[in-house]
Structures are given as C-alpha cells and as structure tokens.
Amino acid sequence: MRKIRSTLITAATWVLVAIFFFPIAWMVFTSLKTEGDAASIPPKFIAALSFDQYAIVFNRGMGSYLLNSLTASVGSTLLVLLLAIPAAYALSIRPIKRVQDVLFFFISTRFLPAAASILPVFFILKTIGALDNITALGLLYAAMNLPIAVWMMRSFFNEVPLEIVEAAQIDGANLRTELVRVVLPILLPGIAAVALICFIFSWNEYFLATLLTTFQARTTPPFLASFVDGRGQFLAVLSAASTLAVLPVIIAGWVAQKQLVRGLAMGAVK
C-alpha cells in the first residue's frame, strides 16, 4: 500500500516536471522541423528533422549578435569579480568599520529598478557618443550585478576558517599573498557560482540592451524580439534562433548545477 502510494507520487512528480519542461523541449524539437511541419495543426510529433533552420538563422547574421552578448557578458563578469572579490574579502575577513552599512548599501542598489537610472544613462551615453557601444553596456551590466556578487561572495568568504587566514598572517604573508595563495583556492567553487550567475543575468538582459543598442552592439535578446515580423511562417526559424540564444546558459547551468544552486541558496539565505 505504502509502496503503491510512493510510486504514484513519483509518477505525478514526473508528469508535473515534464509539463514544466515541455515548452523548452518543444522549442528544440520545432527548431529541427520544416516551417510547414512546425505550423501544422494537429501538431506533428513525428517529423523529418534537419538543421536547415540553423543555417538560415546564421545567414541572417545571428553570429554577430551572439558574439556581442558573449563580449558583454564575459567582460562584465570579469569586471564584477575583480571588484567584488576584494570587497567581499574586506567585508568578511579584514577588520572594517560599519560592515553592516556597506553591505546594506550594496543590496539597496539592487532594489533600485533600472527605471531609476535609465533616462540619465541614456542621455549621458548619447552625449558622449557611447550609445550602441558594447563597452558601455558591459559596464552597466557590471553595475547591475555587483551587489549580488558582493553579497554572495561574502557568504562564501564567511565559510573560510579564520585559523587559516591567521596562520597565513603569522607566516608573514602580506595582503596580496594572503588573498591569492591562501584564501582564493578555498573559494574557487564559490567564485565559479558567482561568475555563472552574473553571466546568466547579463546574457539574458533585455531592457538595457533594447534601449541602449541599435546595431553595432546589439545583443541577442533584442535581436530575437525583432526577429519576428509576423509575416509568413516563422515558427521553426524562431525556435532555432531561440534555441541558439538559450543554449549557452542552459548548458552552463546544467554543468555547474551544484555551484549554481549553492550560490543562489547561499546568496539568498546567508
């Protein structure tokens, strides 16, 4: 009796998970169909598959948009790590007055919606001729992700046993060696988690990208949104473009799932 119940719950769990995952599976499946098959009703669950739609997507120049997304995401993530690691280190291990205030300040900037700063940012960038500039976009992404990164990084630093740091200090390690040789290796999984989360947020960002880029620096999300003109059949090619757009993050998220979960849970709870 108990066993039957348990099996039933497991089956129900799988059905529900399948429903949640269905849109993504359907997107990938549709991307491999012909336009005719993709738009057929009733939907075709068996169809001839090919990568033709992907060729069309690349012919429409998606490569350069993906490259822009990559530049902005990787660049901003590196900058965030460069700023957040020392800051979190000082906030956790080194003596500093008013740790609470500083932490509170960082997290409060995250509560400020993009709406709060978009207008001045737009006009300043326009004035200095930096609209449609991938560096400018990357800097803004770094500012957007910095608070979460500091917050998460600090929770990871809090897990470093103080004795190790003290031992290093007695050994006479100066600040830089202490940070680089002693603390950093212990932190690598945490850094990976922070980097991954910053990368995901930047890669998926739409609001700033739409408003601040037009062509040269346009990233994938606004490109996707302008991809559909509503004429003719486009489901298969749209699915192919969307699959390409979401694939890097999904793969990264799956591979580093442990770090991701730990990072989100740590950042959220500690």
Partner: protein, 312 residues
C-alpha cells in the same frame, strides 16, 4: 611587604603601539579593498538616480529640445492626477502579487516533491531549474507564437482536445498570459531556495517526530513550515524585487495592452515612445518609491537575517 606597581616595559609599550599601528594599517588596507566596488556602484547607480530626480522637475519634451524649463512638481501633478498612474499601479500590484504568490506555492510544492528520494531525482531537478535559465525574451517569444497562438499554439490545441474552444491569450486574457509566463519562469527559483531550506532540516528531528507518531502532514505543518519560514521570506523578497522589474514579457507579448501596463512599461512608453523625458522621470521616481515601499516591508525580515549573518 612591597607593593609592585606594574610598569609596562619599553618593549611592551613598543609592541602595543605596533599592534595599534598594524591594526590601523589593516583597516586602511581593508577600506582600500572595498572602495573601488563602492565608488563604481555609486557612480553607475546612485548618481544617475539623483539626475533622474532632477529630470523629473523639468519640463522637457524631446520634440521641443530648445524649451527645457524648470517646472517644479508639475510632472508629479500630471503623474498623480493623470489617467495612467492608478491603473498602472494596479497592474503592477496584480501582476507582481499574483506571480509571486503562485510561483511561491508551486515552488514549495515542487520542492517537497523533489526532496523525496525517487528514481531519476537528479534529472528531474535539472529539468525543473531550466525555465529559470532560459532567456526571458526567448521564452516570451516561444510562449507567444508557439504555445499560445490562437491558430497554431500547442496550448490551444490541447484545449481543443478536451473540447474547449481556442483562446487568443495575448489579446483576450493578457493579464493571465503574463502571470502564467512569469509564474512558469520563477517557480524554479522559488523551488531552489525552498529546497535548500528543506535540505537544511535535521533528519533526526524529523525521524523523532515520526517515531512519536506524528503523521507526515502534521510534521510538515508543525516542523517543516516553521523551519522554512526564513527561506520563504527571502524567496518572497527576492522574487518580488525581480518581478516588480519584469519588462521583457510585457514588451514582447502584450505591449502593455489590456491591463498589463506596469509602472516599468509605462515609464518606457513615456520616455522612448512618448518622448516626454520630464514626465517619464517622474514616473521613474514614483516607481522607485513603490519598489522601496515593497522592499522595506520585506527588508525588515531580511535585516534580521542580515544582522545574524553579519557577525562571524
């Protein structure tokens, strides 16, 4: 008897001052480590916000760039007396509130299901977190055209199978569409945090409860839920903050029609379609005020956690 007054020796004094100097040096070094991040953050987020406040006091339409004038609180008067603000505030509250509550409940449900031991649990968890990883713009497009489309959408086909007629989701039920989309996207996020909470529960206490004859529902109600409280609060806070700023599905699926014109979409429309910078800035400032309002309520809880987590 001789009384000895302890006089610190020269070396001791020397050591003490040295320690003091070392401490000061360390503190200065620490400040130097925090400063770059702090300055960067202030320049790119706080300063623009101050400028937004200044903009909101200007009479500035992009069509007449030569006529920028100081207008005091005229824009705010327009915001509060105009026909757009209240519906927009209402839309924001409805959409954010429903999505937070629904994704929290579903997230809790999934967290409990995926905390059990069963065949393929790892794979189920992996598949379950994926909606949160998917680019919101791509998800909105796929939902709009491939799942919800009135002619070729899968959802409408499924409705047809059970004998219901097709629904033009984007135009007939725009609010429901947006809430559905956001709930789908944020349920995995809520689930992740709550799952971390479930896993941090002590197994022994739960076993003891079951030995004492408490049924699974009672154990859940009296032990698991109180334990999860902190996690639920944080999930709600972070979820609300992110959902308040949700823009992509609205811009892509409904364009703010049919009661989905939230504050962040209204601001976008005013500034970049309507070209009225002053008014848009005023909307921006009000949006921030609303966000802060929501956040302060939630922040009180967070701050408690902060204090506890701040000490080490």
């Amino acid at each position: 008897m001789t009384t000895t007054i302890e006089v610190p020796t020269a070396t001791q004094v020397h050591r003490a001052t040295q320690a003091g100097i070392a401490h000061k040096k360390k503190a200065r070094a620490s400040r130097a480590l925090v400063l770059p991040a702090l300055v960067f953050s202030v320049i790119l987020t706080q300063v623009p916000f101050l400028v937004t406040i200044y903009f909101s006091l200007l009479n500035w339409n992009q069509l007449r760039p030569s006529e920028i004038k100081f207008a005091w609180f005229k824009n705010y008067a327009v915001v509060f007396t105009g026909p757009d603000f209240l519906p927009s505030l209402f839309a924001t509250v409805v959409i954010t509130g429903s999505s937070v509550i629904l994704s929290l409940l579903l997230g809790l449900f999934f967290a409990v299901l995926l905390d059990r031991k069963f065949v393929g649990r790892g794979l189920a968890r992996t598949l379950m977190i994926t909606p949160f990883l998917v680019m919101p713009a791509a998800a909105a497009l796929i939902w709009k055209w491939s799942l919800l489309d009135v002619n070729v959408g899968m959802v409408n086909w499924a409705l047809h199978l059970v004998g219901l007629s097709a629904i033009a989701w984007n135009t007939d039920l725009p609010v429901v569409t947006i809430i559905m989309m956001l709930t789908w996207q944020y349920t995995p996020f809520m689930m992740l945090i709550l799952l971390a909470g479930l896993q941090s529960q002590s197994r022994e206490v739960l076993e003891a409860a079951s030995v004492d004859g408490a049924g699974p529902w009672r154990t859940f109600q009296w032990m698991t839920l109180p334990h999860l409280r902190q996690y639920i609060e944080i999930a709600t806070l972070l979820g609300s903050i992110m959902l308040l700023q949700a823009f992509d599905p609205i811009a892509i699926m409904t364009k703010g029609t049919g009661g989905t014109k939230t504050l962040s979409y209204l601001l976008y429309e005013r500034a970049f379609i309507g070209l009225d910078v002053g008014q848009a800035a005023a909307f921006g400032v009000v949006t921030v005020a609303v966000t802060i309002g929501v956040a302060t309520i939630a922040l009180r809880t967070l701050f408690k956690v902060f204090i506890n987590g701040g000490e080490r």
